[in-house]
Amino acid sequence: LFPLQFSSAMSASFYTKPANNGNAGVAMETSWDSNPGRQRTLQPITTGASVLAIKYNAGVIMVADTLGSYGSLAKFRSIPRVLRVNDATVAAASGDLADMQFLNTVVENHAIDEEIHEHGIAYSPASLHSWLTRVMYNRRSRINPLWNTYIVAGTEAGQPFLGYVNMLGVAFKEDCLATGFGSHLCLGLLREALDAAGGYAGLTEETATSALEACLRVLYYRDCRAYNQYQLANVPVAKPAQVSGPHFLQSDWSVAKLVKHYTE
């Protein structure tokens, strides 16, 4: 029987152990590798749906609904998926929510460490994005992924920052991002909003917010795992990050009155 691991975040230093064993140069991590019989995350259990984000002229806005689905069951209807890391950085995850909570705890602990050290250095969105990429890729390379797609948003060197990392360690930065179903149904809408404004420098906060809301509405109509209650994170370049919610999504079902049976 393997020893019970209560908190791998607090045990042994994370990702700094030298690779002095047969693991092909990959750093050892706690008990998973020394216990080959241990279960690996093969499928997500409690999941979060899409995360959407877009830059605007004075910052970046990110939204995520507050639903944790257990298969098709809408089991947890008030789960916060948006993490405020510090004044300049927010992150949100879709995918397995247990893995999300694990990572969020690690990030929060790092942020506390930084405060304790009083060296004035804090996570920036770019450094969080970079760290997250390495962690996700590392876990993927050991066939024990953290089953999440993260979006990191904030202010980097006075400019809006928006980055994506998924469970394979694929990472990139863009002016608008979406995960899950959102990447199929909503990215086009967000890109259109950016095009209409001639780039994010021409997009106002109101237009960006209403574009995201319209996207959430499309998701609520067309994604079986979406929900009509959401959190919104706004990180203006010149002001601290703010996470607000829960907001409620209005939806229009008037077309249902026009539908009767399935044939004439």
Partner: protein, 213 residues
């Protein structure tokens, strides 16, 4: 490489219900059709007429249930002429059952046949996946029904009026919609009695409220 949802059968994820009262039946359903996790139709009508006084609530494969309902409707149309009277609900249910039972290996269809006739008044017949036929004073089906059995068992009482039945069905379907990812949209209701069918729709924002946490 086709996307996931194009390879999956279109299913009426669904919550369907029917309740007998003295003088008729009340039937209800949600309006979501899904293909995997994509909502292919958010305003689907799952309450399908078999005759003027008999409806069926459809769950399972949308294609299977539509094709079968068309068949049954045609057959009952014909029987009206050959028997010289409106088909009974029991007869309609048996016609439906014979198709579902004899083709059970190739079908994914579960229906509730409900309606009114001169002989026995309001009746509800449940036909789940294998093709069993059973008359019940109250029946529920579809993936959403699993989330409300406790509520149904606790709240149903025989001898309700048609208004009480409508509230009961609306409340139950609403609760299922809120928990089942495969159910959603609006609640369609129909009351079937001696005077025929009156249809109602409860819009998404008007669904009975309940604890949301």
């Amino acid at each position: 490489m086709l996307a996931d949802w194009t390879q999956q059968e279109v299913l009426t994820g669904t919550t369907i219900m029917a309740v007998e009262y003295n003088g008729g039946v009340v039937i209800g359903a949600d309006s979501r059709t899904s293909s995997g996790t994509y909502v292919t139709n958010r305003t689907q009508d799952k309450l399908t007429p078999l005759t003027e006084y008999i409806y069926c609530c459809r769950s399972g494969s949308a294609a299977d249930t539509q094709a079968i309902a068309d068949h049954v409707r045609y057959y009952l149309d014909f029987s009206r002429i050959s028997q010289g009277r409106e088909p009974t609900v029991r007869y309609a249910a048996h016609v439906m059952q014979s198709i579902l039972y004899n083709n059970r290996d190739n079908l994914s269809a579960a229906v509730i046949v409900a309606g009114w006739d001169e002989v026995n008044g309001g009746q509800v017949y449940c036909i789940p996946l294998g093709g069993l036929l059973v008359r019940q004073p109250m029946a529920a089906g579809g993936s959403g029904s699993t989330y409300i059995w406790g509520h149904l068992d606790a709240q149903f009482k025989p001898g309700m009026t048609d208004t009480e039945c409508q509230e009961f069905v609306a409340k139950s379907v609403s609760l299922a919609i809120k928990r089942d990812g495969s159910s959603g949209g609006v609640c369609r209701l129909a009351v079937i009695n001696r005077s025929g069918v009156q249809r109602r729709i409860i819009m998404h924002e008007d669904l009975p409220k309940s604890y949301d946490g």
